[in-house]
């Protein structure tokens, strides 16, 4: 009779590849399907919904979604919102993270609590007063208000991410710079930042992803002004209409998803290490 160990090892040898295959299929298949749907005519989908490979390949869906449905405008809006959010987030969180990492100031310990609270804070509660406020100020439909909200939601996390990295920069390098006559700001600019490029990249990308993917606040603030829609909002609003073919909207989904996936995998190492750095301390 085989030992329990042998049985278990044998079972695992079969189970493990099976689990891996299922995981791969379940995560990859929907996205393959997304791309496959986006390059065919709607007639084909309705006549033969079960087919995966398109019989007649077309890119008209992309032309349609970008021009007629206005996704070019949505793309521009999303890019503006995301780029400004990234720039402002970095500008605000770099000095903040440096202060938390290096300087002893009044309330330094409480700051962490504030950040954690903002990070965990439900967006839906925040949505109510901001919706009312922006309505009163006439800021609804403007991208400025949206950008402000994105910055406020990202900054606490990015300060935390950057702080972790700044703490690994040896203090002696900074002291050397100070002796050479650098002020505090020029030390940050000339010494700390060049040493922290990977962390800055990761932080910027995180801010970009938040702004690009966000839906609730875009819906609340922009829904009445079509020319201000972001790609996420545009897709969600058009998805309900009967006139636009599903395959055209799938092309829109690809347009929405692709930039984020490319950015993520171009920088995946940086991002996941930044986000899970705390986990390893366990």
């Amino acid at each position: 009779m085989p030992s329990r160990d042998r049985v278990e090892r044998g079972a695992l040898r079969v189970l493990r590849p099976l689990v891996i295959a299922v995981l791969f299929l379940v995560t990859a298949f929907p996205f393959v399907y997304m791309v496959m749907l986006s390059v065919r005519d709607i007639q084909e989908l309705i006549l033969d919904p079960g087919s995966l490979w398109p019989s007649a390949f077309t890119l008209d869906t992309y032309v349609d979604v970008l021009t007629r449905q206005g996704f070019l405008t949505f793309l521009r809006n999303s890019l503006v919102v995301s780029a400004v959010s990234v720039a402002a987030t970095l500008l605000i969180s770099i000095p903040g993270a440096y202060a938390v990492a290096r300087l002893r100031f009044f309330g330094r310990r409480q700051v962490h609590f504030l950040f954690l609270a903002v990070y965990l804070f439900p967006a839906i509660v925040l949505a109510i007063p901001l919706f009312v406020l922006f309505t009163m100020l006439g800021l609804r439909g403007s991208l400025v208000g949206l950008i402000l909200v994105y910055i406020a939601q990202t900054v606490p996390v990015t300060v935390y991410m950057l702080r972790n990295y700044f703490e690994t920069v040896p203090q002696s390098v900074e002291e050397a710079a100070a002796i050479d006559g650098c002020t505090r700001l020029s030390t940050i600019w000339r010494v700390v930042l060049p040493l922290s490029k990977p962390a800055l990249m990761a932080t910027g990308l995180y801010a970009f992803m938040i702004a690009w993917n966000e839906f609730l606040f875009a819906l609340l603030f922009l829904v009445e002004r079509r020319e201000s829609w972001t790609v996420s909002l545009g897709l969600s609003q058009l998805a309900g209409s009967i006139e636009i073919p599903t395959t055209v909207l799938m092309a829109g989904s690809v347009v929405l998803t692709l930039p984020i996936v490319i950015i993520f995998f171009a920088s995946e190492r940086l991002l996941t290490e930044g986000l899970t750095a705390g986990a390893e301390k366990g």
Binding site: D5, R9, I20, L23, F24, T27, A28, P30, F31, Y33, M34, L45, I46, P49, I92, G96, A99, L103, R104, F105, G107, V111, L120, P122, A123, I124, V125, L126, A127, I128, P129, L130, V132, T135, M136, L148, I151, A152, Q153, V159, W212, N213, F215, L216, L220, V231, S232, A239, T246, S253, L256, T257, I260, V261, F264, E268, L275, T276, A279, G282
Partner: protein, 305 residues
């Protein structure tokens, strides 16, 4: 005579100056609005009369009594709980399995790992639309595999093996598990790979079988990260709006409290009632967290003792 500031004082001032932009934006855009949301919950406000509702407006408990008296609120709260607990548990369980399966190197691991992360990274609007299309009863690919089409997202109840099941709610939970297991996977895998190999090796030498090593060597070292993940996922899912709103709009027995809050705010234009529900939701969440931390914190102390 001007006193020269000490280095320590200078450092303190510089620190405050550098952190102040961060503080200003979080206070202006998060903290103050939160306080205002609490005030709004105790006032009778609609968008039309918002200008009359000032700081010293009339405060009342009517919003709460009105909101809590509606049966829709309680069923939404139950849905929220079921959705959160099931979504959290499933996403962490699948994440754990995925992390264990991908712990050791194999050919193509990078590809599989990348594929696993995509659902989490992709924009929620895109993946929700993708699921809607795949599950569509007329032309969705999933329904072409079934003998009888199922309206996954618009059917409140159905029978499965003779048991009545909430179809749409289960679909939304499945979506939650699918979309967020990569989050748990990332954290657990990072922890797994940081574990010292010696313990596992020693257990092998002692003749421990794979399940025994998992139970007595690996799991005890993962409890903390799993506990942390449970808290994070619970907090995020409990107040989540996007996923349910995009998939079902809150119909077919999937209405969660956050979707109700949104509907009261926009469709019903009842700011006070909307804020009151959001506050109740936040309070329930805090109560759960406190109970959990008590329970869990106590457990940890007992382990040490």
């Amino acid at each position: 005579m001007r006193r020269v500031r000490t280095l320590r004082e200078q450092e303190g001032r510089a620190g405050l100056a550098l952190i102040s932009p961060t503080l200003v934006i979080t206070i202006v855009v998060v903290v103050l609005p939160l306080l205002w949301a609490i005030m709004l919950a105790f006032q009778d406000v609609r968008l039309i009369n918002i200008r009359r509702a000032g700081l010293f407006g009339r405060y009342t408990l009517e919003n709460f009594s009105y909101v809590l008296a509606e049966p829709g609120f309680w069923s939404a709260l139950v849905n929220t709980l079921v959705y959160t607990v099931a979504g959290t548990a499933l996403s962490i369980a699948i994440g754990l399995v995925a992390a264990l399966a991908l712990r050791d190197k194999f050919r193509g691991r990078t590809l599989v790992r990348a594929s696993i992360l995509v659902p989490y990274v992709a924009p929620v609007v895109a993946v929700a639309f993708l699921w809607e299309t795949m599950l569509n009863p007329q032309y969705g690919i999933v329904n072409t595999w079934l003998s009888q089409p199922i309206a996954f997202l618009s059917q409140a109840k159905g029978t499965f093996l003779g048991i009545e099941v909430p179809v749409a709610l289960l679909t939304v939970i499945a979506f939650e598990a699918w979309r967020y297991f990569p989050f748990a996977f990332l954290f657990i895998l990072a922890r797994l790979q940081a574990l010292p190999a010696e313990l596992d090796e020693a257990a092998v030498v002692d003749g421990a079988t794979p399940t025994q090593r998992f139970r007595y060597v690996i799991m005890p070292q993962l409890w903390r990260i799993i506990a942390l993940l449970s808290v994070l996922r619970f907090v995020f899912t409990f107040t989540k709006f996007d996923d349910v709103y995009l998939l079902t709009g809150g119909g077919a027995g999937t209405e969660v409290v956050s979707v109700r809050v949104y509907n009261f705010l926009t469709a019903r234009d009842d700011i006070g009632a909307s804020a009151a529900q959001a506050i109740v939701l936040a309070v329930v969440l805090v109560v759960f967290l406190v109970v959990y931390l008590r329970f869990f914190g106590g457990g940890e102390r007992a382990e040490q003792g």
